[in-house]
């Protein structure tokens, strides 16, 4: 895989850094489990879990789900009332009530990515369906109602960015993304940027052939292609910005296409079919092989589950069992729930202790 480096998304607020492993002369070996992912429709149990928490969306509008608030009470996404009336909106998970947050410009293509943490929602909006490189990154505060314009596809001198539109992440009082730069070479070049929501200051963490960062535990983690063509994952503490240690298996991950993080896992795909997952703070790893009809892309994590958008359907994978099911709507989640929206309907399944995908068809 050459040049495949994509930003990613993280769900939920990151936990405190796990205690550092004790330095011992002979650490225990890594525990790696391999899974051939099997896909099936949702079981009756999962169908019931979703249907018990389903609401019609106010006004009968469709919601393209993007993120769920940490408190599990509000979903965020794109609502479309007409061709000329599209907006980023909040939807109450209990009532379906819709609150508009920010209108999209006429001709906008939709929301490419979204994340929520604390009182902030951040998203990347695609401003044109014909010009794939016309985008903006914006953030909105639930507390103050303030909207911030964080980045666009044009640099201040008017040059057009070249490369992957950002998939921003939010948490620990900051927003982070990879900002593609104007064309400098045949491959896209970007900077890893961290925007402090309190001080309103931007810090550049890295540059080159880099992916977008994700929040994994207390750290910001991103991938980069080194000069020799090898891939590496780098990490810093999300607050202090000091370099953070990563296990050997994670430091040299092989090719990285998509990256995702949460307070419990770090996950990356090496191609459309291979997914690798590290349980943070442990030596436990999972290697998962999907099939070609479920290309691993736009990965996200929710509790013990990986969610991804396979171009239709969307898929939920139980990292503990290697079993997965498809849904036809859009997905988002937190550590406490997985939400789905399709055809003016929004539902969610609480991730209780017995929420597992054990069967496969």
């Amino acid at each position: 895989m050459v040049g495949a480096l994509v930003a990613a998304a993280a769900c939920g607020a990151p936990a405190a850094r796990p205690p550092a492993a004790n330095a011992t002369p002979a650490p225990p070996p890594d525990a790696v489990r391999a899974y051939s992912v099997c896909f099936a429709p949702p079981s009756e149990d999962w169908t019931r879990r979703f249907s018990e928490h389903a609401v019609a969306i106010g006004g009968g509008v469709d919601l393209h789900l993007g993120a769920v608030a940490d408190d599990g009470r509000t979903a965020y996404g794109l609502v479309r009332r007409s061709a000329a009336d599209q907006a980023v909106a909040a939807v109450d998970l209990a009532t379906g009530a819709v609150t508009s947050i920010a209108a999209l410009p006429a001709g906008a293509a939709g929301i490419g990515s979204m994340a929520a943490s604390g009182s902030w929602v951040v998203w990347q909006q695609a401003n044109s369906a014909a010009n794939l490189g016309d985008w903006a990154v914006r953030a909105w505060s639930r507390e103050s109602g303030e909207t911030l314009d964080l980045a666009t596809s044009r640099s201040p001198d008017g040059q057009q960015a070249f490369g992957q539109a950002p998939l921003p992440v939010a948490g620990r009082g900051m927003v982070a993304w990879a900002q593609p730069q104007p064309r400098q070479a045949s491959h896209p070049v970007a900077t890893v940027e961290r925007y402090d929501l309190a001080s309103r200051r931007t810090t550049v963490l890295d540059s080159g052939r880099v992916s977008g960062p994700v929040l994994a535990g207390a750290d910001l983690v991103w991938a980069r292609v080194e000069a020799d063509g090898s891939y590496a994952l780098r990490a810093v503490d999300a607050v202090s910005l000091r370099a953070a240690p990563l296990p050997e298996r994670v430091r040299a991950p092989g090719p990285v296409v998509y990256l995702a993080g949460s307070d419990r896992y770090l996950a990356w795909s090496t191609d459309q079919r291979e997914l690798h997952v590290w349980r943070l703070g442990t030596r436990e790893y999972g290697d998962y092989t999907a099939d070609v009809r479920h290309p691993l892309q736009f990965l996200r994590l929710a509790g013990d589950f990986t969610l991804w958008y396979a171009g239709l359907p969307s898929t939920v994978l139980d990292l503990r069992t290697g079993h997965a099911f498809d849904v036809r709507g859009s997905l988002a989640g937190t550590d406490g729930l997985i939400a789905e929206s399709e055809a003016a309907r929004l539902s969610y399944a609480p991730l209780t202790a017995d929420a597992r995908i054990d069967g496969c068809g």
Partner: protein, 286 residues
């Protein structure tokens, strides 16, 4: 709409639904596309009626072009006659100006154009010029994206229109190779006849005189099916379709958006039904 009259190529390969296979050994051995012909595929995931209805409604509400759809042209008898007429017109061989002819590579019940070219589009709105350049290269011809864009009048606000891209295909791919391309418009939610006609026309192009790629005009809408690696937003996009198989359930295409979204593979297999859904409201040039 008149069908494409593909010119004769130097290598004649006859494939019918994967039953009869013939191809130069060099083409079979040399191409990455041939290796891709053995890539595994799982069972199809059908779209729900609600999803298809939602996609069709979105297209009806957002369509600013409203291409005329000729459902009669997709009737089985009409399509069979089209393909037969084209086969008759292909009897006079026309040699390409330069380059190697394309050749179909068949394996595992799949047909893939062995020389299927892929290029990253050089601007975010150059999918049309990139597709023309790719298809020319697949046919052993050469036109760079910039030249194709200038000829077709590609712009940042509207990309490349159906009419201009079809004319560009004929200018740079069809006529130099002794054939022509014609555009077929599809309904917002393609009918069974339209789906069957796409399969018949794609198979005809892929298997005639070394194989001709087909240009797909994708209209991806939020909540609907998307090409591999594309985000779930509205996207107008041209692609080069160069393979099919597994009992007409999957298609193979080259995607120039590798320079737009880093997760887009240069080549992908996709459920053929989903691909036709993606082309709904626009169509394809064959």
């Amino acid at each position: 709409m008149a069908g494409m009259r593909c010119g004769a190529m130097l290598v004649t390969i006859v494939c019918a639904a994967g039953l009869l296979v013939g191809s130069p050994a060099t083409a079979l051995a040399a191409s990455p596309a041939c290796a891709a012909a053995s890539a595994p595929a799982a069972a199809a995931v059908p779209l729900s009626g609600a999803t298809l209805a939602s996609v069709a409604a979105y297209r009806a509400a957002h369509d600013t072009v409203r291409l005329p759809v000729d459902l009669a042209a997709s009737a089985p008898a009409a399509v069979a006659a089209q393909v037969a007429r084209r086969a008759a017109a292909r009897r006079a061989p026309v040699r390409l100006a330069r380059g190697a002819p394309a050749a179909a590579c068949a394996a595992s019940g799949r047909i893939v154009l062995a020389n299927l070219d892929q290029q990253g589009q050089i601007t975010d709105y150059y999918c049309g010029p990139a597709t023309v350049s790719e298809m020319a290269a697949t046919r052993g011809l050469r036109v760079d994206q910039g030249a194709a864009a200038r000829w077709m009048g590609t712009g940042p606000s509207s990309g490349t229109s159906v009419d201009r891209l079809t004319r560009g295909l004929n200018q740079f791919v069809g006529w130099p190779g002794g054939g022509t391309y014609a555009f077929v418009s599809l309904s917002y939610s393609p009918t069974p006849n339209e789906r069957a006609a796409f399969v018949a026309r794609l198979r005809s192009d892929l298997t005639t005189y070394g194989g001709w790629p087909v240009a797909g005009d994708a209209w991806e809408v939020p909540g609907g099916p998307h090409l591999v690696g594309h985000p779930d937003v509205e996207i107008f996009h041209w692609i080069e379709i160069g393979g099919m198989g597994d009992g007409d359930t999957v298609a193979y295409y080259a995607d120039s958006a590798t320079t737009v979204w880093s997760g887009v593979p240069a080549y992908s297999w996709i459920d053929l039904g989903a691909l036709v859904d993606i082309l709904g409201g626009r169509g394809y040039a064959w």
